[in-house]
C-alpha cells in the first residue's frame, strides 16, 4: 500500500516534469504543427539560464591565501564573490543560495527572446514547408544550440542546487499514519509539482479564456483564410512561440536542482516529450498534460522492484509499451483532434 502511494507521488512529480515539457512542445508541435526538434534545446537553455544566473551571482575577485597551497604547491587563490562585498557575507550567501528561484526572472525574458528570434528568424519560413524540412532545420538548430552551450559550459553536468531551505525531504508517511521513512518526498519536488500546476493552469487559462487559442488553431489549419479575415496570424504565431519557449525554459530552470544540467539534457528528453505529446493526442493541451502524468506514474510503477522481478526489463520499455497500446486502441491518442498531422 505505502509502496504504491509512494510511486504515485513519484509518478506525479515525474509526470509534472513530463507534462511541463510536453506542454511547451504541444504549443508548437500540436498546435502550430511545426515538428520542433529544437524543443529539447529550449528546455536545456532554460536550465542553463539557471546556471548562468548562479555564475553571475558568484562572479568573484581573487585573493591569494598564503596559508593554503594549491595542487602545484603554489599559494592558493581564493575567490570572493562580489555579492559578499556588496551585501555582506550572510546576505550574499542567501542570494547565491536562492540562485535557482531567482533565475526565473532572468529566464522568462531570455526565453521569450530566444523563442521570438527563433520563430522570426527561422521557423517562420517553414510553416508551409514539408514536415521533413522542419525536422531537418530544427534538428540542425538543436545541435547548434547544444554545441554552443557545450563550448561555453563543457560537457560535464553542473551542479545547481536548490536553496538550502528546500533540501532534504518531507515525511509524508508519518503525517498519514504510516511508518516513518516509508513515504518520503523531497521538498524541492513538491515545489516543482506546485510550479508545474501553476504554469499549466496559467497556460490553459490564457488559451481557453481568450480567443487567442482559437485563432491560432484556425491559423494552423488554414493560414491563408485566416489572413483573409484580417488577422495577422504571423504575430500570433510568434507570441505562441515565445510562450512555448518560456514554458520550456521555466521547466528547465526548475529542473536543475533535480538533475544537474548538462548540454545534452534536451536531447535526452526530446524523444520522450514527443511521445508524450502524441500519446496525449495532437493538438490537445489537456491531452499532453494527462499523458505526461499517466506516463510518469506508470513509469514509476514499472520501476518497482516487485514489478521488475515479475517482468524483467519492463522498466526499460514501459513508456513505449504504453504508448503503443494507447495509440493502437485510441487512434488519435488520448484526446487528439482529428486531422492534425495525420497524413
Amino acid at each position: 500500500m505505502d509502496a504504491i502511494l509512494l510511486q504515485i507521488l513519484n509518478g506525479l512529480d515525474k509526470g509534472s516534469a513530463y507534462a511541463l515539457i510536453a506542454l511547451g512542445l504541444t504549443l508548437i508541435f500540436g498546435t502550430l504543427g511545426v515538428v520542433n526538434f529544437a524543443h529539447g534545446a529550449l528546455f536545456m537553455i532554460g536550465a542553463f539560464c539557471a546556471v548562468t544566473v548562479s555564475r553571475i551571482l558568484t562572479v568573484s575577485r581573487t585573493i591569494i591565501d598564503d596559508t593554503q597551497k594549491d595542487f602545484l604547491g603554489n599559494p592558493l587563490k581564493v575567490e570572493v564573490p562580489y555579492v559578499h562585498d556588496w551585501f555582506g557575507q550572510a546576505t550574499g550567501d542567501v542570494i547565491i543560495d536562492w540562485a535557482v528561484p531567482l533565475s526565473i526572472f532572468f529566464a522568462i525574458p531570455v526565453m521569450i527572446c530566444v523563442g521570438v528570434i527563433m520563430e522570426r528568424g527561422l521557423i517562420k519560413h517553414f510553416y508551409h514547408r514539408p514536415h521533413a524540412d522542419q525536422i531537418l532545420v530544427t534538428f540542425g538548430l538543436a545541435i547548434v544550440l547544444q554545441e554552443i552551450i557545450k563550448f561555453y559550459y563543457g560537457a560535464n553536468p553542473i551542479p545547481t542546487p536548490a536553496p538550502s531551505a528546500f533540501t532534504g525531504s518531507f515525511d509524508f508517511g508519518a503525517m498519514f499514519g504510516f511508518e516513518p521513512n516509508t513515504i518520503i518526498y523531497p521538498y524541492w519536488r513538491l515545489v516543482y509539482f506546485a510550479f508545474a500546476a501553476v504554469i499549466i493552469g496559467a497556460v490553459f487559462a490564457f488559451l481557453q479564456f481568450t480567443t487567442f487559442g482559437m485563432v491560432v488553431r484556425a491559423g494552423m489549419a488554414d493560414r491563408e483564410t485566416v489572413g483573409l479575415l484580417g488577422i495577422n496570424i504571423d504575430k500570433r504565431f510568434t507570441i505562441m512561440f515565445g510562450l512555448a519557449a518560456a514554458v520550456a525554459g521555466l521547466a528547465g530552470v526548475m529542473y536543475t536542482p533535480i538533475n544537474s544540467p548538462n548540454y545534452h539534457m534536451g536531447m535526452d528528453f526530446l524523444v520522450l516529450s514527443f511521445v508524450v505529446v502524441v500519446v496525449g493526442g495532437m493538438g490537445s493541451l489537456p491531452g499532453a498534460v494527462l499523458a505526461g502524468f499517466l506516463l510518469g506514474i506508470l513509469e514509476s510503477f514499472a520501476s518497482m522492484r516487485q514489478v521488475i522481478e515479475i517482468i524483467p526489463g519492463i522498466n526499460q520499455v514501459i513508456i513505449y509499451l504504453v504508448a503503443i497500446i494507447i495509440l493502437l486502441t485510441r487512434p488519435r491518442g488520448l484526446m487528439g483532434r482529428k486531422g492534425v498531422m495525420e497524413e
Partner: protein
Amino acid sequence: MNAKSEFSKGANAASTAPAFLSVWDMHSYYGESYIVQGISFNVHEGEILALLGRNGAGKTSTLRSIARLGDPQVTHGEIWLDHQPLHNMKSYEASIAGLGLVPEDRRIIPGLTVEENLKLAQIAPPIGWSLERLYDLFPRLGERRTQEGITLSGGEQQMLAIARALARDIKVLLLDEPYEGLAPVIVDEIEKTLKIIKEQGMTTVIVEQNAVRALELADRAVILDTGGIVFDGLASEVLENEELRAEYLAI
C-alpha cells in the same frame, strides 16, 4: 512581397481614375508559370462586375492576386481600393482595408464550429453584420451553429463562406463562384441578398460559371481568356452579343 520594388512609383494611371477598385497592368506567377498576364480593369463604387471566362482562364488567380494571397505572386502592377494601395499590403492588411473574398473552395476552417468560423471573422476590425443578422439570412447556419464547419453539406459550406465574408465590414466583395453547389432556390436567395447589399452600396466582383445568371445580376462584365482581358463592357452587351457568348462563354 519582394516584388514591391518593381511597382512603378511615378505615373500611375490607376490612382487618378475615379474607380473604387482598380487593377492596373497586373502580372502574376505561380512559381514559373505566368498566369495573369497584364490585366487592367476598374470597378466603380456600388456596381456589380461579373468576371467571366473558361476553366483555367485565370479568374481565380486574378481574385487571389487582388486579395494579396501571395500565391500567385504579383510581380508587377497596381491595385487600388478606395484610394488605398492594396499592392503594398499583405492579405490581412487588405482585409482590414475593406477587401472581402469568398474563396472558391470555400475554405471553411477545419476544427472550428460554424459559429467559431464566423466569430473568427469578427476578431479584427472592422466588423460587419452581426451573427443574428447572418443567421436570419441563413437559418440553416443558425440551426447548425455548434456543428463543425467542415461537416456541413457542400451548399451549407458555401453559405457559411458567404456569411463569413459579410461578417466583416467590407468595401468590396469578391465572390469566386458563389452559386456553385447551391440549390436553385438558394441561388435565388443569394442573388436577392447580393441585390440587397448592392442597394446598401456594396461593390461586388463576381466570378461565376453560370454566366447568364451572373450577367443578369451584373452591371458590367469583364471576360478573361488565358490570362488576358478580351472584353470589358456592359453586362447587357455580352448578353446581346452572340459571337462573344459563343466564343468565350459557350452560351
